[in-house]
């Protein structure tokens, strides 16, 4: 069930360079959201920006939902300046969640690049509740951009070597998978599309299942505008909608 709520803002807290967590009170969405699902937020009340902006839910805490965002444009800059007196118009839960209870794995291997960490904390808490061991690999361009909060068994990669493994997060995950410590692993991934494509190849290399959460422009977020096609590799239809059938897809079913 989709819910549209006008949510009082608790605060906006900086967690890394240019990266913030917005917490707002959204009891009905907090009670029903699943990991990998997202909310579509109306920023301001004017026509700039016009469309809502989609954000993965980062964490829930009682009646609160949290989203993590990087200031990259006008909309996210407006979000950063929200405070206790403000309300945000939030629409959610939207999209298809990670299949965190599927029987095709024992160990959850989380792989995220950049702000792809967004859905990992909520995913981690659901996985733990489902009794699944979790290991996390997160990567960023540099140390200052890393957000490693509320995760389990974290290993870090940076492109410039300022922290952890010097290289890509996919290469980092590969070296750990090679060691063979994980019982029946499955990859849960989120990040830029090129990184996800590389993660999908990694999963194929090891013959293990992999779910990816995509990011891209959306008009409405709930399937009516048909604006966010994702190309399918097989079947009768050419496209699925990122907002409705995604943002989480089985990596082996889509073209990235």
């Amino acid at each position: 069930m989709m819910i549209q709520e006008l949510c009082p803002v608790r605060n906006v807290v900086q967690v890394a360079q240019g990266v913030f967590v917005l917490t707002c009170i959204s009891p009905r969405i907090a009670a029903s959201i699943l990991p990998g699902q997202f909310v579509n937020i109306r920023i301001g009340t004017g026509t700039e920006p016009l469309l809502r902006r989609p954000f993965s839910v980062y964490r829930t805490n009682g009646c609160d939902i949290e989203i993590v965002f990087q200031v990259v444009g006008q909309g996210t800059d407006m979000l950063r300046h929200l405070g206790e007196a403000d309300r945000v118009d939030v629409l959610g839960p939207l999209g298809t969640p990670y299949r965190y209870e599927s029987p095709d794995f024992e160990t959850a291997v989380l792989v995220a690049g950049g702000l792809g960490i967004a859905p990992l904390p909520i995913l981690t808490s659901f996985l733990k509740r489902a009794g699944k061991p979790v290991v996390s690999f997160i990567g960023a361009r540099e140390s200052a951009l890393l957000v490693d909060l509320h995760l389990e068994q974290v290993s870090v990669a940076t492109d410039d070597g300022t922290r952890g493994f010097h290289g890509t997060v996919v290469d980092l995950a590969r070296s750990h998978l090679r060691s063979g410590h994980f019982a029946h692993p499955k990859i849960f991934s989120c990040g830029p599309t090129r990184m996800l494509a590389s993660t999908a190849r990694l999963a194929k290399e090891f013959g293990i299942p992999c779910e990816v959460s995509l990011e891209g422009p959306m008009g409405c977020g709930f399937g009516i505008c048909q604006g966010c096609p994702v190309e399918l590799l097989a079947g009768e239809r050419k496209y699925a909608l990122m907002c409705k059938e995604g943002p989480v897809f089985d990596a082996s079913t889509i073209l990235m």
Binding site: T47, P217, G219, P229, Y239
Partner: protein
């Protein structure tokens, strides 16, 4: 309470606010968020004879106070609409207007004929003006003769109300409105999207996969108002105003310049309940201004003198 009902041909809708085609799915996707019985009706996503995949990504991009789309008429096709969507729509107390898109006169006829076989479709809106598909749409809508031919042909096959959705991408939209009125159209929808484009200057590539797309949203409202004004002065059939309506006051502007009804489009993506809010808002405006029928507002523009805008400007 003011009278809000709106009649086209032999069908009466409960009010003059509709959800525009392509912005409300098939009516069933928004039921969590809006009481659609408060709308005059829902215009369906364009229906074609066969399901259509639509265009490659990227299909949408936001522009100043607007958006460009190039969906390419992605839809489930008329057969699945009849079997999977219509049965639920019929049970909801709101008008159902089936929008039809096609790439030939024959295909328009086949889709309409299929819909003629079933109960529950209150009216047709004919999309002769989609700017985003190569083989159809605008190639009809930009030709007055072709638009007239389609209208005349479909008129001969149905007694249900026939609404022709016109493109603004022509020199004089009034000539098109007059032409379709002359061959039996019951109303015209004015306007479909304006052709526009956006470019990524870093890669120097067009953002949309089809290079150009259709511009909608508040950015086009002044243009849409002028087109409705032009068309409504040229014909006696109702003009349904569309273009950037975000709230009640926007809708009132359309009624005042000559629209008999309005459709809310892009705003549904932001707030799917906006059409219902606007319908209630129009009724409240009439009550507050001692207007006993919304119809009295239609074309009530006082063109004799200018309005003072100083307050709303400041």
């Amino acid at each position: 309470m003011a009278i809000t009902s709106f009649q086209i041909r032999n069908v009466t809708f409960k009010n003059r606010v509709f959800a525009a085609s392509g912005t409300f799915g098939y009516g069933d996707e928004c039921l969590d968020l809006v009481d659609i019985t408060r709308l005059g009706g829902v215009v369906t996503k364009s229906l074609s004879l066969k399901p259509r995949d639509g265009n490659a990504p990227t299909r949408i991009v936001e522009t100043p106070s607007g958006m460009l789309n190039s969906i390419g008429l992605a839809n489930i096709g008329v057969e699945r609409f009849v079997n999977q969507k219509l049965p639920l729509l019929i049970t909801l107390d709101t008008g159902v207007i089936a929008n039809i898109a096609a790439s030939s006169v024959d295909e328009y006829c086949k889709v309409l004929d299929r819909l003629e076989e079933v109960e529950g479709v209150d009216a047709y809106e004919i999309n002769v003006s989609c700017p985003n598909v190569k083989e159809g749409g605008l190639s009809f809508g930009a030709s007055r003769d072709r638009t007239e031919e389609i209208t005349r042909t479909l008129r001969g096959r149905t007694n249900r109300p026939l609404i022709i959705k016109l493109t603004p991408n022509v020199t004089h939209i009034s000539e098109f409105a007059r032409a379709v009125e002359g061959v039996g159209a019951d109303a015209v929808s004015v306007i479909n999207t304006l052709i526009g484009m956006a470019v990524d200057v870093d890669t120097r590539k067009p953002i949309l996969s089809t290079v150009t797309g259709g511009l909608s949203g508040p950015a086009i409202k002044p243009i849409a108002l002028a087109k409705v004004y032009e068309a409504s002065r040229a014909v006696d059939i109702p003009v349904i105003g569309i273009g950037g309506i975000m709230n009640t006051r926007d809708a009132l502007e359309f009624l005042i310049v000559g629209a008999s009804a309005v459709q809310v489009g892009t705003a549904n993506f932001i707030d799917p309940s906006i059409g219902a809010t606007v319908a209630d808002g129009i009724a409240a405006y009439c009550d507050n201004h001692a207007i006993d029928d919304v119809r009295s507002l239609v074309g009530s523009l006082d063109a004799g003198r200018h309005a003072s805008v100083i307050d709303s400007w400041l």
